[in-house]
């Protein structure tokens, strides 16, 4: 576990390779996800968006060890801000993203300033309280801004000042979010999210490799020692918190771009819990882990939840009747409405056997393969380890 999250010096060349492979994998996702039935724009967009969310969360949790239980609030704030930009100014997504991230940054400065006065469980509870407060306010006193349960949606009668000034009066139909005239729907929206994800990943990589990242890791390993060596840790923590909040705001505005609607549900504590699960499932403190976790959870939520008895019986049709029925009966507990159960079991298995998340599993596999290649010898010193990315 420790070796997973330790500061890992890397060469620029290796980082460039990581970036190139990463970009290639993300951009070809529509192709390699087809066999598992996950290659349709909406789910692809979700993979990218929650990937960004988890990467951002990991900057706070993975590097500093501060477990925020209220990150969904930033996601929601980003969404609301972006939709308001669509309503008031323009359908151009860059404006929406800029405003969404800006508002989230301000919001996270306020929340971070208060919450970071405590650490450990108290910090978690404070962030949870703030997020739940935002959620309840979105449903009650803030309904003029959030439109409550009905969710904030676009209307033909919205002002859209800039669009109207430039393009004249709007058409009869509702406009879609666009990037200078290119309508961002379907695959176009996915590729846009994918490019943003690659950029976000690159920034996160730079942070992991930077002296700033090292200081954050030092705070995680022993904050007192940091303080004794003369560092004031709070500004570093606050910056990490704000960056992580901005990532969430970015993910939130992307959610509003791919689907111009903002509902308060995405601020609920379950949504905050989800990103914690994603990060832990994939491997906290690793670069790729949170992305893996996000992908797996979203895959379960969207694909497993839609599998029914009929698909199962088709799958096991080759088996004899009695066995087929028994197997379908057993398996149907784990699909459809039971997808939470499957996820729960998987999560338990990972936490018990691979405390470092799926990335630890991958690392163990590569180590094992390497030791086999070297004729049973154990791999040399720590520096020779394949870093977890």
């Amino acid at each position: 576990m420790a070796s997973l999250t330790a500061f890992q010096p890397s060469t620029p060349k290796r980082d460039a390779i990581i970036m190139a492979v990463f970009a290639a994998v993300v951009l070809t996702a529509p192709i390699w996800l087809t066999p598992i039935g996950a290659s349709y724009p909406d789910l692809l967009q979700r993979f990218a968006i929650f990937g960004i969310f988890a990467i951002g969360f990991n900057i706070l949790f993975g590097l500093t060890g501060y477990l925020s239980f209220g990150h969904a609030a930033f996601l929601g704030v980003g969404s609301y801000a972006a939709v308001w930009m669509f309503k008031l100014l323009t359908m151009n997504v860059l404006v929406a993203i800029a405003f969404g991230v800006l508002v989230t940054a301000l919001f996270s400065i306020v929340i971070g300033y208060v919450c970071l006065r405590r650490s450990g469980i108290y910090f978690s509870i404070l962030t949870l309280a703030f997020a739940q407060m935002s959620y309840n306010m979105a449903y009650s006193v803030l309904t003029p801004i959030t439109n409550g349960e009905t969710a904030l949606i676009l209307e033909t009668a919205d002002p859209r000042i800039i669009d109207r000034a430039l393009l004249g009066d709007a058409k009869e139909a509702l406009p879609s979010p666009s990037l200078f005239g290119l309508e961002l729907t379907g695959y176009a929206a996915f590729y846009f999210c994918a490019v943003v994800l690659i950029l976000a990943f690159w920034v996160s990589l730079r942070i992991f490799r930077s002296p700033f990242g090292l200081k954050l890791l030092a705070i995680k390993s022993n904050q007192n020692r940091m303080i004794y060596t003369g560092y004031n840790t709070r500004p570093y923590l606050l910056v990490a918190f704000v960056i992580s909040g901005m990532y969430a705001g970015l993910a939130g505005s992307l959610m509003a771009i791919t689907d111009p609607l903002a509902g308060a549900e995405r601020m609920q504590w379950t949504a905050s819990g989800e990103v914690v699960l994603m990060t832990i499932l994939g491997g906290a403190g690793t670069l790729i882990g949170p992305l893996l976790g996000a992908g797996i959870i979203k895959y379960f939520e969207n694909i497993f939840s839609a599998v029914g008895k009929t698909q199962l019986s088709e799958l096991f049709a080759f088996l004899p009747d009695g066995l087929n029925e028994a197997l379908v009966g057993l398996m149907s507990l784990f699909v459809g409405e039971g997808w939470h159960l499957t996820l729960g079991v998987l999560f338990m298995l990972v936490v018990i056997f691979l405390p470092g998340g799926l990335m630890e599993g991958i690392k163990r596999l590569t180590d094992w393969a390497k030791s086999r290649r070297q004729g049973g010898e154990t791999v040399g010193d720590g520096a020779a380890h394949q870093p977890s990315e």
């Binding site: 970009a23 909406d42 409550g148 139909a173 950029l199 609607l261 549900e265």
Partner: protein, 446 residues
């Protein structure tokens, strides 16, 4: 470090170039294809897929499960299996019982979780991945409005399930959205005279409202009607959806001086709040020298079943009830009962009818092209579906048909015989001008 930067930048450039090319490719294909074609055209395929998007979890899950049963039954009947149900009584009828336009009907399901976000995600999955020609279902107006506007953007017809807010076919009406279910305005218009006759002109009402577009719209319509009778509104309190415990909202009712409680809750929320209201002794109270009364504007048998004996003597309105004696109702109750062993709820009924209406419109126009189907449904008049003669109004895609005022049965004869129909309010009494709630349907072609 320097070297690293140039490398990374070059990689970034490459990545962006690839992304740019990839972004352009799909738009080139779809743009040209749009004019001739429409989304999810089944073409020469031997099957056609419908999307059933219903709440399977959350406060309206019971309704959602019954909706799904109805849809599965509708698919059977469309494919010529079973006893044919309402295919035997619907007039005019184009369906032949061999699927839709000779294509076998298949379906996919999704869970809306009674959340706008989740409902849109599962509707998108159906449209983008499963290639459905029509999305239907839902048991909440928040969800209906959200999915309806998504379907408009996607160019896929949405046949709304149970949604009762005025907004669905009022402020938020859409060209691609259709609603068979009645709405808050109709409920209030139907309930008004009955409440006046049963409870008199001098009443003080207290409203507990589910805090989303449906609740707001029922609250508005009920206030308007009751104040016209001469009632006074003491207070209107908004409660969150799925609260579970409503005691903190019910205690203040006792001291407010109100003598009527209007419970604008639905599904499990209504079961919870009504049960708690009865437990708090509201029904046995005398206020201002009158018996304390409870009114539930949108009633359903499923809710009555959940609340048990507590519903006795409580007034409300429904879209349809299984005990009606017309030909259509009897045919539907019979085939639903044979399939599942109990009578259908109003949610099941409206969903079943919506699925058939869509299929019939496609069969009649001879194409799945949504624009033609929409034009056929606009102003479509039909009968024999359990509600008597019904009109799909062209201007707002709202169905107009009689509304039932019901009362909780004091002496039920079975576990399903929980509501008795007090009055079948004729269509004329509940009709309103289509521009009363201003809205814009939007274009045919998207």
């Amino acid at each position: 470090m320097n070297k690293g930067k140039t490398f990374t930048r070059r990689t970034m450039l490459k990545g962006t170039a690839i992304a740019g090319a990839a972004m352009a490719a799909p738009t080139v294909f779809t743009r040209g294809a749009w004019a001739q074609d429409f989304r999810n055209d089944p073409g020469d395929s031997s099957t056609v897929t419908l999307g059933f998007n219903v709440p399977q979890t959350g406060p309206y899950a019971e309704e959602g499960k019954d909706e799904l049963r109805a849809y599965q039954l509708a698919v059977k009947h469309l494919n010529g299996e079973g006893d044919g149900g309402l295919l035997n009584t619907m007039k005019p009828l184009s369906l032949k019982g061999n699927g839709i336009l000779g294509k076998k009907v298949e379906y996919v399901t999704g869970d809306t979780q009674t959340k706008s976000d989740a409902a849109r995600a599962s509707a998108k999955r159906m449209i983008e991945r499963d290639g459905v020609v029509m999305v239907t279902g839902g048991s909440s107006s928040g969800v209906a409005v959200a999915v309806q506007s998504l379907c408009q953007e996607m160019g896929v017809i949405f046949m709304a399930g149970l949604t009762h807010a005025n907004d669905t076919t009022g402020k938020d009406r859409r060209r691609y959205g259709f609603r068979h279910f009645f709405n808050a305005h109709m409920s209030a218009a139907a309930l008004g005279p009955v409440l006046e006759a049963e409870m008199g002109k001098e009443r003080r009402s207290y409203m507990l409202t589910a805090d989303y577009n449906w609740g707001w719209s029922v609250e508005g319509s009920m206030t308007e009607v009751t104040e016209k009778i001469g009632w006074e509104t003491v207070n209107q309190v908004r409660t969150p959806l799925g609260a579970g415990d409503f005691s903190q909202y019910i205690t203040p009712v006792l001291d407010s001086g109100a003598d009527v409680l209007v419970l604008i809750h639905y599904g499990k929320d209504m079961v919870d709040s009504l049960t708690q209201a009865v437990q708090f002794g509201l029904r046995d109270k005398q206020v201002n020298g009158k018996d304390f009364q409870v009114v539930v504007p949108l009633y359903s048998r499923l809710m009555a079943q959940g609340a048990g004996k507590n519903v006795a003597g409580i007034y409300g309105s429904t879209n349809w009830h299984w005990s009606l004696q017309d030909e259509g109702t009897q045919a539907f109750v019979k085939s639903f009962g044979q399939e599942y062993g109990f009578p259908p709820s109003q949610a099941a009924h409206t969903c079943y009818v919506q699925a058939l209406l869509y299929a019939n419109a496609v069969e009649a126009t001879g194409t799945f092209y949504p624009v033609e189907v929409i034009k056929f449904l606009e102003g479509f008049e039909f009968d024999g579906m359990g509600n008597g003669p019904t009109l799909y109004r062209a201007e707002d895609h709202q169905c107009f048909k009689p509304v039932l005022v019901v009362k909780g049965n004091e002496n039920p004869t079975s576990q399903f015989d929980l509501l008795e129909v007090v009055n079948e309010v004729p269509t004329e009494q509940i009709t309103y001008p289509h521009d009363l709630y201003a809205g814009d349907l939007g274009p045919y072609e998207v």
